[in-house]
Symmetry: C2
Subunit: 201 residues, 2 copies
């Protein structure tokens, strides 16, 4: 069981990348990573992506803030992340689980209002009831008003950056209370796209 490196206990992780579509992408990415307070999460960046691990509230807080700071550049910027909890496999120390729950990056100012479009998918693993869990979280997004329709292999969320990430956190947090011990959620969030919403290009 040591072939893969995943999480133990109820630590939440997110492996993500931020893609600013500009010649200045290094400056935007590095600026965003440095603008965010990451004291309460384990964080590691390699040449493909960044991984943060810790309590759910801090993982969502940090990923939302990094995307917000990158999108604040005004260029078309996309966040791609895989959130995960309960992956069997490794024995990493879970020291960050003892942090308190006060988030460090809640004040995003005007960045919180950046219009965003998201496509997300939930994958509850190890259970035959996975479709029921998915339908339940789609219903929750509908009630919240962020649901923007279903497309093949994903559900859409539309709204401000803060509302879209709130819906993602809601879906993940509620789905892990079901009988799925190992839950994965993928999310692609786009800001400042030059393409018209819901339209083919």
């Amino acid at each position: 069981m040591n072939e893969l490196v995943c999480g133990t206990s109820r630590i939440v992780g997110c492996r993500f990348s931020v893609f600013p579509m500009t010649d200045r992408f290094v400056e935007v990415i590095m600026g965003a990573l440095k603008s965010v307070q990451t004291d309460k999460v384990w964080i590691h960046t390699d040449d493909v992506s960044t991984c943060v691990r810790g309590r759910a509230e801090h993982v969502f807080d940090v990923t939302r803030a990094i995307f917000a700071h990158a999108a604040a550049s005004g260029v078309h910027t996309v966040f791609n992340g895989t959130y995960s909890i309960g992956c069997p496999g490794d024995t990493d120390a879970d020291v960050y689980m003892s942090e308190d729950s006060r988030v460090l990056n809640s004040e995003l100012g005007p960045h919180a209002d950046i219009e965003s479009a998201c496509q997300f998918a939930l994958y509850p693993l190890g259970t035959e009831q996975y479709m029921d869990i998915i339908y339940g979280e789609v219903q929750r997004a509908k009630e919240k008003g962020t649901f923007g329709g279903s497309v093949h292999y994903a559900s859409r969320l539309d709204g401000t950056l803060s509302r879209v990430f709130e819906s993602l956190e809601d879906a993940f947090s509620h789905a892990i209370q079901t009988d799925s011990s190992h839950l994965v959620m993928t999310a692609v969030v786009s800001a400042h796209s030059p393409s018209p919403k819901h339209r083919s290009v």
Copy 2:
């Protein structure tokens, strides 16, 4: 069961985006989409991503070719895709399943040799044996020589663009022969990254 739109029968789909980190991103993305022969797949692009559906060989052929044409621009370009088969939910016509298996974009020329780094993850749904399926495909990548190590929540592949996509197709194709009727695979493939491989930035 009509809340979500997924695939029926054994049609394979991939929802993906290509991110060229340049001010000319629209030109690179549109150029790549137009350079590829897509007659044997259903394809639809919205403001967040593109979805292709059809036989597995054509879905991998088209996604590999679109990334290759975008990466041929020479700028740092990332492919992010979710491959899926067996998602219960919709009743779309599967007319593209009757196409023959001859792929249309196998000749990528020098683009096939672009050095690429990939992080991928397999999610076999509806089965308690999902970790065994994952370990088996990691082992296959090791034997092929493309395996580049495990990171939290993903496995790494390194090699030329053609070998990386061949490993992805191998993993997906073999994993669907197991007892998982619904299989999802995420893959992030990066080319021309200015960051040193395997190193923190």
